[in-house]
C-alpha cells in the first residue's frame, strides 16, 4: 500500500538532493534517478490496481475537502498515472546509456521535477495546486529543452518559456476569476457550485483556461513553440515532452472543461474545431518537412489535435476513443522519438537525406520505428488502428461528416510522410550492420510490444477507457467522490 502522494513528494525531494548524490558519486545519479522513477512506477501500478475497485481520495493535513488540498485518483487519473510513470520508467532505462551534457545531475534533477510536476497535475484535485504543478512542470521543461545550451536548444527553450509563462499566467487568471466568484479552489467544490457563476464569467474562465492550457496541450495557435523546442531538445526530453507533458496539459484542459466548468456545447464545439484545425495545419506543415525530428514534432501536434477533436465530440464513446488515441499517441511517439535518438547517434543530423539506409544499418531500430509509425497511421492489427477506427466510428455516430472527411484527409497526408520516411530508411544496400546496445533498445521494444499486444487485444484496455470516460461525463459522481461519499 503506497500512497500516491509519495509519487509526487519523493521525486520532488530527491530532485533537490541530486547535487548531494552527485557529490557522493557522479555515477550514482542516474541510478538514483532510475530508482525514484521505478518507485513511481511501482506506486502507479499499485494505485491503478486499487482504483479498479473504486476511486481514491488522498487528503492532506487531515482536513476533509473542500477545505484542504486533496488528491483524487479516479479511473482516468489511474490510467494516466500508470501510463506516465510507465513511459517515464522506460525513458529512465533509455537514459542509462544516453550521452548527457554536464552537469548531469542537474539534468536528472530537472527530469525528476518534470515527472513529479506532471504526476501532480493528473493527481491533484485542487485548481490552484494544479497551477503550481503546471509551473513546476513548465519550468523544469524549459530548463530541459535548453539544457544542451546550443543555439537550437536555447532558442526552443526560450520560446517555450515565453509562451508557457503567458499560458500559465492566463490559467492563473482563470483560476482567480473562478475563485472570486465561487470562493473555493477545490475542483469538485467549484464544479458543484458552477451554477453560481454568471454565464459571462463562465465563458471568460473557459477562454482563459483554453488559451492557458492550450500551450501545454499543443493546440493551435498556442503550439508554435513545439517544433523548435522538440527539435532543439535532447531526444529523451523531446520524448517526454511529446508523450507525458502534452498529455498532462491535455488532461488539465479536459478536466477543467468537463468537470469544473461543465461541458457546454459551445466549449465542446470550440475544442472540436480547434483540434481539427490543429490537426490539419500540423499535418500539412509536416508534409514538406525535411528534418525528421521536426516532422515527428509536427505529427505529434497533429495527433494532439486529433485527440482534442475527439474530446470535443463529447459523447461517451468519443471520449473513450480520444483516450485510446491518447494512449496510442504516447506509445507511438515514445517509439518514434527513442528510435530516432538511436539513429541520431549514427548519423550527423536528422535530415531525411542523412538517414538514408539507416534501416539497413540498424535493422531492429528501423523495424521498431516502422512499427511505431505504422501504428500511428493506422495499419490494421497495430494498436493505432483500433483507436483511429473507434474515433471515426464515434465521429460517424454524431454525423460529423465534414470533420470525418478532414480527419481522413489528414490521415492520408500523415501516411504519406511517414511512409516516405520509412522508405528512405530502407533505401540503398551497402550498409554495415551496426545495431545499438540492447539496453537502449529495451524500452523501445517494450513499447512496441505493447503496441502489438494492444493491436491484437485492444479489448484489454476497453474497461479502463470506459471507466475513465465515464468519470469525465459523470460530473456529479466526481463531485460526490470528493465532497461526500469517499472515505480518505
Amino acid at each position: 500500500m503506497v500512497s500516491p502522494i509519495l509519487a509526487i513528494v519523493i521525486p520532488l525531494a530527491i530532485a533537490f538532493l541530486m547535487p548531494f548524490f552527485s557529490a557522493l558519486s557522479r555515477k550514482s545519479v542516474k541510478w538514483v534517478f532510475l530508482a525514484v522513477i521505478a518507485f513511481n512506477f511501482y506506486a502507479a501500478i499499485m494505485t491503478f490496481l486499487r482504483v479498479l475497485s473504486g476511486p481514491i481520495l488522498v487528503v492532506t493535513a487531515g482536513i476533509k475537502p473542500p477545505f484542504a488540498i486533496n488528491l483524487l485518483i479516479g479511473p482516468l487519473g489511474g490510467l494516466l498515472f500508470l501510463l506516465f510513470e510507465g513511459v517515464a520508467f522506460l525513458y529512465a532505462i533509455f537514459l542509462l546509456k544516453a550521452e548527457i551534457k554536464e552537469p548531469v545531475h542537474r539534468f536528472f534533477m530537472l527530469f525528476l521535477l518534470n515527472v513529479a510536476g506532471a504526476t501532480g497535475m493528473i493527481l491533484t484535485g485542487d485548481l490552484f495546486n494544479l497551477f503550481v504543478f503546471l509551473e513546476i512542470t513548465g519550468i523544469s521543461a524549459y530548463g530541459l529543452v535548453g539544457f544542451k545550451r546550443d543555439k537550437k536548444g536555447l532558442e526552443g527553450g526560450v520560446k517555450y518559456l515565453i509562451l508557457g509563462s503567458v499560458g500559465s499566467t492566463l490559467f492563473l487568471l482563470g483560476v482567480a476569476l473562478l475563485y472570486s466568484q465561487v470562493g473555493t479552489l477545490n475542483m469538485a467544490d467549484i464544479a458543484g457550485r458552477i451554477w453560481m457563476l454568471k454565464k459571462p464569467t463562465l465563458y471568460a474562465a473557459f477562454i482563459m483556461f483554453l488559451v492557458g492550457l492550450g500551450v501545454e496541450a499543443e493546440l493551435f495557435p498556442m503550439n508554435a513553440w513545439v517544433p523548435d523546442a522538440y527539435e532543439g531538445a535532447h531526444d529523451t526530453v523531446t520524448a517526454i515532452l511529446s508523450t507525458v507533458l502534452s498529455k498532462a496539459g491535455l488532461y488539465a484542459l479536459i478536466r477543467v472543461v468537463f468537470t469544473v466548468l461543465s461541458p457546454q456545447k459551445a466549449f465542446l464545439d470550440l475544442l472540436l474545431w480547434a483540434g481539427l484545425i490543429t490537426l490539419l495545419l500540423a499535418e500539412l506543415s509536416a508534409l514538406r518537412q525535411k528534418n525528421v525530428k521536426r516532422m515527428i514534432a509536427y505529427s505529434s501536434v497533429g495527433q494532439m489535435g486529433l485527440v482534442v477533436f475527439a474530446f470535443g465530440m463529447g459523447s461517451l464513446f468519443a471520449l473513450q476513443a480520444a483516450l485510446f488515441q491518447a494512449v496510442n499517441h504516447v506509445l507511438s511517439k515514445g517509439v518514434l522519438f527513442l528510435s530516432l535518438a538511436i539513429m541520431g547517434k549514427k548519423r550527423e543530423g536528422l535530415e531525411l537525406e542523412n538517414l538514408r539506409g539507416i534501416g539497413r544499418e540498424l535493422p531492429v531500430t528501423g523495424l521498431l520505428f516502422s512499427i511505431g509509425a505504422l501504428s500511428l497511421l493506422g495499419l490494421p492489427f497495430l494498436s493505432g488502428f483500433w483507436s483511429k477506427i473507434s474515433l471515426l466510428l464515434s465521429t460517424a455516430d454524431l454525423k460529423l461528416w465534414v470533420p470525418l472527411g478532414l480527419v481522413l484527409l489528414a490521415s492520408i497526408i500523415e501516411a504519406f510522410y511517414y511512409l516516405r520516411t520509412i522508405g528512405v530508411f530502407y533505401t540503398g544496400t551497402d550498409f554495415r550492420f551496426r545495431e545499438t546496445a540492447f539496453i537502449r533498445l529495451l524500452p523501445v521494444l517494450v513499447l512496441v510490444f505493447v503496441i502489438l499486444y494492444l493491436g491484437f487485444r485492444p479489448g484489454v484496455l476497453a474497461p479502463y477507457l470506459k471507466g475513465a470516460a465515464k468519470e469525465l461525463v459523470d460530473r456529479s459522481g466526481y463531485i460526490g467522490w470528493v465532497i461526500g461519499g469517499l472515505k480518505p
Binding site: 520560446k159 515565453i162 509562451l163 503567458v166 454565464k199 459571462p200 465563458y203 471568460a204 477562454i207 483554453l210 488559451v211 495557435p221 498556442m222 508554435a224 513553440w225 517544433p227 523548435d228 459551445a266 470550440l270 495545419l281 499535418e283 500539412l284 506543415s285 509536416a286 508534409l287 514538406r288 518537412q289 505504422l374 495499419l379 490494421p380 492489427f381 488502428f385 483500433w386 477506427i389 473507434s390 471515426l392 465521429t395 460517424a396 455516430d397 454525423k399 461528416w401 470525418l404 472527411g405 481522413l408 490521415s411 492520408i412 497526408i413 501516411a415 511512409l419 516516405r420 522508405g423 528512405v424 530502407y426 533505401t427 491484437f456 487485444r457 485492444p458 479489448g459 484489454v460 476497453a462
Partner: protein
C-alpha cells in the same frame, strides 16, 4: 478452414521471414508450402459456401469471414497466382522481407475475398495495400508511395462509406443495402472508389503503370493478375449485391460506367502501344483488360457479367503469364526495356512460346482464354443495342493486337543483340509458372463452359439468370460460340497449312545478316526497328496524349504540398509572431462569445 486459408499466409510470412534469413532456399520453400495450403483447402469448397464467424477482438468490433462463390472464384485465382509467383521469386533470389510482405499482401487479399463484413473487408484491404507497397518501397520509393496514396484515398473513401452505412443501418455485415436513410448514389460512389482505384480503371489508374513497372518482377504477375481482382470483386459486390436495387433501377449509372470501362480499355490500349518498357506496356494492357471488365459490369446483363468475370479470369491467366515471361527474361538479360532486347527466340525458346500464347490470348484470339469473355461482352452489348460502345471496345481490342505484336517482336524477334550472345534459357523455377499457366490458357479457351458453370452459380446468388452452356459451347440470346469446334478446326487448318509447308523442299537456315542488305550492314547500325515503333500514332494523337488525368492528380497533390509549404510559415520561428497569434486568438474567442460576454 476459412480461418486457416487466411492465417496460412500470415503465419507462413513470418516463418518464411525467419527461415529465409539463414537460408534463402528454405525460406522460399516454406513460403511455397504455406501458400499451397490455401489452394488445397479452397479447391474442394466448390459446392456452396460456409459461414465462419469468430471474434478476434474482444472489443466492440469483430471480424467475420464467409466463403461465397464469388469470393471463392477470385480467391482461387489469387492463391494460384501467388504460389506460382513464388517459383519466379525463388529464381530472382528475393530476400526475406520480400517473402514476408508478399505473403502478407496475399493474406490480405484472401481476407478481402472472404470477408463477411465491411470492417473486415476494409482491414484486409489496408493490409493488402500496405504490404504490396512494401514489396517495392525500398527500391522504388516514389512509385510505391504513389500507389499507396491512391490506395489510401480509395480505401478511406470506402471507410467513410462503411461508417455512413453503419450509422444508418446499424450493421456492418455485407448485405444488400436496405433501410438506408441517406443518399444512395453518394454512398455508393464513396463505396466503389476503393475498388475503382484498385482495379485501375480510369481515371484512377495513374498509380498502376509505375507500380506494376517497379514492383519486383516476380511479384508483378500476382500484383496485376490477382490484386487488381480485389477491385473487380468489390465492384461486383457493390453493383449486384449491396447496391443492386439502386443499380437495377438506375440504368444511366450502369451505362456511364460501361462507357468509362470501354474508354479505359481503349485509352489504356493506346497508351500501351507507346511504352518502351515491357512492364509498362503490360501495365497499360492490364488496365485495358480491366476496362473490359468494368464495361461488362456496367452493362449489367447476365451475359455481360459472365463476360466480365470471364475476362477477369482470362486476364489473371494471360496477363500474369506475360509478366512471368518478362520476369524470366529479366533474370537473364537484366533489362525490361523493349529497346534493349531482341532476337531472344533463339536463346529462350520456352519463354518465347509462353509469350506467344500469352499474346494470342491477350489479343483475344480464339481458342484461348482471352476470347470467350470478349465474345460474351460483344454479344451482350449487341443485345442491348449499343453500337458505339461496341465500337469502342472493338477499337480497344485492335490496340491489343498492336501492343502484343510490339511486345513479342521487340523481345524475341529481330536480330539478336551482341550482349545477349551467351544468354541461356531462364532457370527452371522461373519457367514453372509459364508452363503451368499455359494449361488454363488453352483449356478454358476450348472449354469455356467450365468457367461459366461457376459464374452461373455466382449470378444466381445475385438473382440473375445464368448463361446457357455446355462445356465447350456458350449460348447467348444472339448466337453461340463453340470453343472446341474452333480449336479443332484450327488444328486441322494448321495441319493442312503445315503439310503444304512440309511437302516442299527443305529450307536452308541462313544467318540473319544474309538478307536483303546482302550482309552489307554497317558496323554498329541496329537492324532492330524497336524505338518509336508506333511513332505515327503518337504523332497523330499528339493532342490527345497531352491530356493526362495524372497531371490533374499531381496538381492536386502539388497543391496540397504547396499549401503545406505555405502554412508551414505559420510556424515562423519568430516568438513575437507567436505572441501575436496568441493575442489574436484571445481576441477571436472574445469576439466569438461577444453575445455571452456582454456584462
Amino acid at each position: 478452414m476459412t480461418f486457416w486459408v487466411i492465417a496460412s499466409y500470415f503465419l507462413g510470412g513470418i516463418v518464411a521471414y525467419v527461415l529465409a534469413r539463414p537460408s534463402r532456399k528454405i525460406g522460399a520453400f516454406v513460403a511455397l508450402l504455406f501458400s499451397i495450403y490455401p489452394l488445397y483447402a479452397l479447391i474442394p469448397a466448390l459446392d456452396g459456401g460456409f459461414y465462419l464467424r469468430f471474434t478476434v477482438i474482444p472489443y466492440y468490433l469483430h471480424l467475420s469471414f464467409r466463403l461465397t462463390l464469388l469470393g471463392w472464384f477470385f480467391a482461387l485465382i489469387a492463391a494460384t497466382l501467388y504460389s506460382l509467383s513464388l517459383f519466379s521469386a525463388y529464381s530472382e533470389k528475393r530476400d526475406s522481407f520480400f517473402l514476408l510482405s508478399s505473403m502478407f499482401s496475399a493474406g490480405g487479399l484472401m481476407g478481402v475475398f472472404l470477408a463477411a463484413d465491411y470492417l473486415t473487408l476494409f482491414i484486409f484491404f489496408e493490409i493488402m495495400a500496405f504490404f504490396s507497397a512494401f514489396t517495392f518501397i525500398r527500391e522504388h520509393r516514389r512509385s510505391a508511395l504513389k500507389y499507396i496514396i491512391y490506395s489510401l484515398v480509395g480505401s478511406y473513401a470506402f471507410l467513410a462509406a462503411l461508417l455512413v452505412i453503419n450509422r444508418s443501418t446499424g450493421s456492418l455485415e455485407i448485405t444488400p443495402l436496405s433501410g438506408f436513410g441517406g443518399s444512395v448514389p453518394a454512398v455508393m460512389s464513396l463505396f466503389i472508389l476503393a475498388f475503382w482505384v484498385k482495379s485501375a480503371v480510369m481515371p484512377f489508374h495513374p498509380w498502376a503503370p509505375s507500380a506494376y513497372a517497379d514492383s519486383p518482377h516476380s511479384y508483378t504477375p500476382f500484383f496485376s493478375g490477382a490484386l487488381s481482382k480485389s477491385g473487380v470483386y468489390g465492384l461486383v459486390l457493390a453493383f449486384f449485391y449491396i447496391f443492386a436495387g439502386f443499380f437495377k433501377s438506375h440504368h444511366a449509372f450502369g451505362y456511364i460506367f460501361a462507357w468509362i470501362g470501354a474508354l479505359t480499355a481503349l485509352f489504356a490500349g493506346i497508351y500501351a502501344l507507346l511504352q518502351d518498357d515491357a512492364k509498362k506496356l503490360l501495365a497499360y494492357s492490364s488496365i485495358s483488360q480491366l476496362g473490359y471488365v468494368a464495361f461488362g459490369l456496367g452493362l449489367g446483363t447476365s451475359l455481360s457479367i459472365t463476360g466480365s468475370l470471364f475476362v477477369a479470369l482470362g486476364h489473371a491467366v494471360f496477363e500474369s503469364l506475360l509478366f512471368f515471361v518478362i520476369a524470366a527474361v529479366y533474370i537473364r538479360t537484366g533489362t525490361t526495356m523493349l529497346t534493349e532486347m531482341g532476337g531472344l527466340i533463339k536463346k529462350m525458346p520456352i519463354s518465347f512460346i509462353a509469350l506467344l500464347f500469352g499474346i494470342i490470348a491477350a489479343a483475344g484470339i480464339p481458342p484461348t482464354v482471352g476470347f470467350p469473355g470478349k465474345w460474351m461482352l460483344y454479344e451482350a452489348v449487341l443485345e442491348k443495342g449499343y453500337p458505339l460502345l461496341a465500337g469502342a471496345i472493338f477499337a480497344a481490342s485492335i490496340t491489343a493486337f498492336l501492343y502484343c505484336y510490339r511486345l513479342i517482336y521487340s523481345i524475341f524477334l529481330g536480330p539478336l543483340k551482341k550482349e545477349f550472345r551467351d544468354v541461356r534459357e531462364a532457370p527452371f523455377p522461373a519457367l514453372v509458372p509459364l508452363l503451368l499457366l499455359l494449361i488454363p490458357l488453352l483449356f478454358f479457351g476450348l472449354f469455356p463452359g467450365y468457367v461459366v458453370d461457376v459464374t452461373d452459380s455466382i449470378l444466381r446468388e445475385f438473382g440473375y439468370l445464368g448463361v446457357p452452356h455446355t462445356p465447350a459451347k456458350l449460348l447467348s440470346g444472339l448466337g453461340t460460340f463453340n470453343g472446341l469446334a474452333v480449336g479443332i478446326t484450327m488444328g486441322a487448318a494448321f495441319v493442312i497449312a503445315f503439310l503444304v509447308h512440309a511437302v516442299f523442299s527443305r529450307s536452308r537456315k541462313v544467318s540473319e545478316l544474309n538478307n536483303y542488305t546482302a550482309g552489307e550492314v554497317a558496323e554498329g547500325v541496329s537492324m532492330h526497328y524497336v524505338a518509336d515503333f508506333y511513332k505515327f500514332i503518337e504523332r497523330e494523337l499528339h493532342g490527345f496524349l497531352k491530356l493526362r488525368v495524372e497531371a490533374l492528380f499531381n496538381w492536386i497533390a502539388e497543391g496540397i504540398g504547396g499549401l503545406g509549404e505555405v502554412l508551414r510559415r505559420v510556424y515562423a520561428g519568430d516568438i513575437q509572431a507567436y505572441l501575436v497569434y496568441l493575442i489574436l486568438f484571445l481576441g477571436f474567442l472574445f469576439t466569438l462569445y461577444r453575445g455571452v460576454l456582454r456584462w
